[in-house]
Amino acid sequence: MKTKSLMAGAAALATAVLLQLSGAGAAFADTPSDSSPSDNSAHGGPILDDVHNAPTTAVAGNVTFIDNVRGVSGYSALNFIHYDKYGYDFMFANGTGGLAVWSLKDPEHPALISKITAAELRLPGDTQDRFWEGENMTVDPKRKLVFLTRDPRGFGGTVKTGQSGVYIVDVKNPWKPETVIFHPVPAGHTATCINDCKYLWSVGPANTGTPGQDPSWNGVPVRVTDIHDIKHPYTFDRAVDLGRHDGVTDYVHSVDVDKNGIAWASGEGGVRGYWTEGNHYDPVQKRNRVATAYDPVPYAGGTVVATNPAGTDFFDYFDHNAYRNTEKLGSFDKGELLYITNENITTCSKAGEFKIASLKGSYDGEGWRSTPENPFRLELISHWSPWGKEGSATSGSCSAHWFTVNGNIVAQAWYGQGTRFIDVSDPRNPTQVGYFRVPSGQGVTGGSASAVYWHDGLVYVADYNRGVDVLRFDGKLAGEPDKKICWNSCDK
């Protein structure tokens, strides 16, 4: 592996440093300098001032740093929408500071064009200007909508006192995003568009004990909202994916739709897939029936055995998010493999891992019949951590987090361990083929990577501290490159 102690791409570095210096020190500030629109035809319209933090302390292998943008804060998640009328994409990020929008007319150097600050998202009774936090951000690329998922812990709230729900933001004009409605939902850690974004599945967090939550639940499962008409959203008073942890209803953390349209709900107790459209055999009800977003048909799934000898009852089975590979890989059948983030925020040596499991043996409702006395577990194919690998930190917060897949290369965020590129061509032996990590340093905002996105030949990293880093993976792309990178909703 080509190792670099600093970022590669001298020209990019020079540009970034110049931008940083011209920012009059704002690069180190928690918030960007006051922004004002200025015309910049290179980006198709007015742009706002932004902050670019040059990661001069970065350690990288097979990765070139290209740019960093700050927008309104650090971010938990990004998403992208293509606009035919402009002929290029726009990037949307949400984090504690709210929503930021960049033009990707120049994909290597995103240009900040608009924002909705956390202060603008405040509701009556809120005590802080702090959005929490929109992991796994979902968008409707056709109607040009962005969904900001509000966790009850945002804006000064707690899981017991806070208001969860979703802000529906119209971005038809990306220079002027407009909040259509805040819709309260008794769930709200993440959300995912379902069935071409006609429905929204909102999930998590841990049980709030607030109205709408069954006291017997350990966490908030899936809440289904009809968003055919965004002026009149309706949330069903019937949750989905109950009894997910050996029969106990627990915390669903993420929903990710695969290329076949199956929605995979990940969380405490495993990963379970559901058909949400069409007529399918229901292995639980033992009959063919129509699948809908509000009454989906179980497909397959479960969790794997714990791998961390120092784990906990919660984190051993906390499957944070997942990606079902719909293709054949090596000796594994088409659609057999499930890639899973097992999050565990603890010491780097014992932190959560990336796991690969086989779905074999789970197609007959086994994951829905699992009990503590007779638990069903998927076969664990492999598990991987950056601990002890090249370019890794030895302290800090290091758990596995969100990833996307291109061909056989998984690009994954690992908090303080930065971005890791993992070749899964041999699913039994995941291998690191690239990395990018930003330790704190003089003038350098240390990284805490939340999510990594392959996008049109580049890699964009949503970082809780740094904002967005734009990278290029210089290694060899294993497998067939994906024309469409699928995570969250696959209707892109």
């Binding site: 008794p186 008409d229 002026k231 009149h232 129509v290 809908t292």
Partner: protein, 391 residues
């Protein structure tokens, strides 16, 4: 039968009443003991048919508004001022509605509530909105009002489209596979049937839509259609009496699936025609005090004051006046534009069905359609179809 939008016009004299909410409130409530005594007045208009066929409902509306005013004044009024009501008989015709609205506008009211009859409400709304006066329209079908795009007008009723959504969402809880949407061919029935059918199709369910003749419908034939299609959910969008006969016919031919009727069947005629077959049938209908446990205390206060049970017209007018008062409080001013600006962002304000919020087009973001179910020969509440925190 309560058939909105089909009310006959009645000729009315222009009867203007000015009612002090405070005067009528002396024994209504002691909630406001210790509240500062209101200084000065502000007047809200109330528009309702007070003569003709709809006079009884019109009086119900006025009484609801009066009760709200009385309770507001008991609690210190609005911005320290006593609330007064100017009541106008708007009748049910376009002309009478417009005339009444013009008279109200001349009295410099802070805002207006009421309406009830659709034709009168629409023309009144246009007249009232001409100078930007806020108007919370209660009881009247709001589709034309929403379509008119009047910036200061906010309906308190759900649209026909929202009734269709209520029907589709309730079906969702029952997980049907094959849905029959049946109607009587009237324009209202056809519209609702069309809206429901289109939405159900989008979800991939099998749908059969049929209409019978409005007069003398062949219900046996309709029932055979349902069984032939193997429907497991039937939604009837026609009139009440044939709806009752239809569910009876369905049960006679062995249909065991779900039956739901539209708000047209929210009537004793439906129950009488159906007999025992009505049991367990569902209804999409707008919320009223008899269905809502959350309105029980209020209904008791109303009965204590007026010696009769309140209707839904009283309940909506009560909520409308309170909402208007809340908007004035938030505005800190009676300036019409400020009151209008605050109506879409009422803080911590709930009605008997939940949070009151308006969409960008001023339709209710969360409408007042609920699901009733026949239990023991009477309509009971099955679901408010709300999951907002105030539910």
């Amino acid at each position: 039968m309560r058939r909105r939008g089909a009310v006959r016009a009645v000729a009315l004299g222009a009867t203007a009443l000015v009612v002090s909410g405070l005067l009528g409130a002396c024994s209504a409530s002691d909630e406001g003991r210790g509240a500062p005594r209101p200084q000065g007045e502000m007047t809200f208009g109330v528009l309702a048919p007070l003569s003709g066929e709809m006079a009884e409902r019109g009086q119900d509306l006025v009484d609801g508004a009066q009760l709200a005013a009385a309770e507001i004044n008991d609690q210190g009024g609005v911005l320290g001022r006593q609330v007064r009501l100017a009541v106008e008989d708007g009748g049910c015709a376009s002309a009478t509605g417009e005339q009444a609205a013009t008279r109200l506008a001349a009295t410099s009211v802070v805002g207006v509530v009421g309406g009830l009859c659709e034709d009168a409400a629409v023309t009144a709304a246009k007249a009232v909105a001409a100078d930007g006066t806020p108007f919370l329209v209660s009881s009247a079908r709001p589709d034309r009002l929403v379509g008119a795009g009047l910036p200061s007008v906010f309906p308190m009723e759900g649209t026909v489209y929202q009734e269709a959504l209520a029907a589709v969402h309730w079906m969702g809880y029952r997980s049907p596979q094959r849905v029959a949407v049946l109607g009587d061919g009237s324009p209202a029935s056809q519209r609702l049937s069309s809206l429901v059918t289109d939405r159900v199709k989008v979800d991939g369910l099998k749908v059969s839509r049929r209409s019978a003749a409005a007069k003398g419908p062949d219900l046996a034939e309709l029932a055979r259609t349902v069984t032939g299609f193997k429907a497991d959910f039937v939604y009837w969008t026609g009139a009440a009496e044939p709806g009752g006969r239809l569910v009876s016919a369905l049960r006679q031919v062995g249909y065991t699936g779900y039956f739901m009727a539209s708000s047209e069947s929210d009537s004793p005629e439906f129950l009488q025609a159906a007999g025992g077959a009505a049991e367990d049938a569902f209804l999409t209908t707008s919320a009223g005090p008899r269905l809502l446990p959350t309105a029980a205390d209020w209904a008791a206060r109303f009965k204590d004051r007026y010696r009769r049970d309140p209707g839904r017209d009283a309940m909506q007018a009560y909520d409308a006046l309170r909402a208007l008062a809340q908007a004035v409080r938030q505005a800190g001013d009676t300036a019409r534009s400020k009151v209008v600006d605050n109506l879409p962002q009422l803080e911590d304000f709930t009605t008997f069905t939940g949070t009151l919020r308006f969409a960008a087009d001023h339709s209710l973001a969360y409408d007042n359609y609920v699901i009733a179910q026949v239990r023991g020969g009477t309509f009971t509440l099955a679901s408010k179809l709300r999951t907002d925190p105030a539910e």
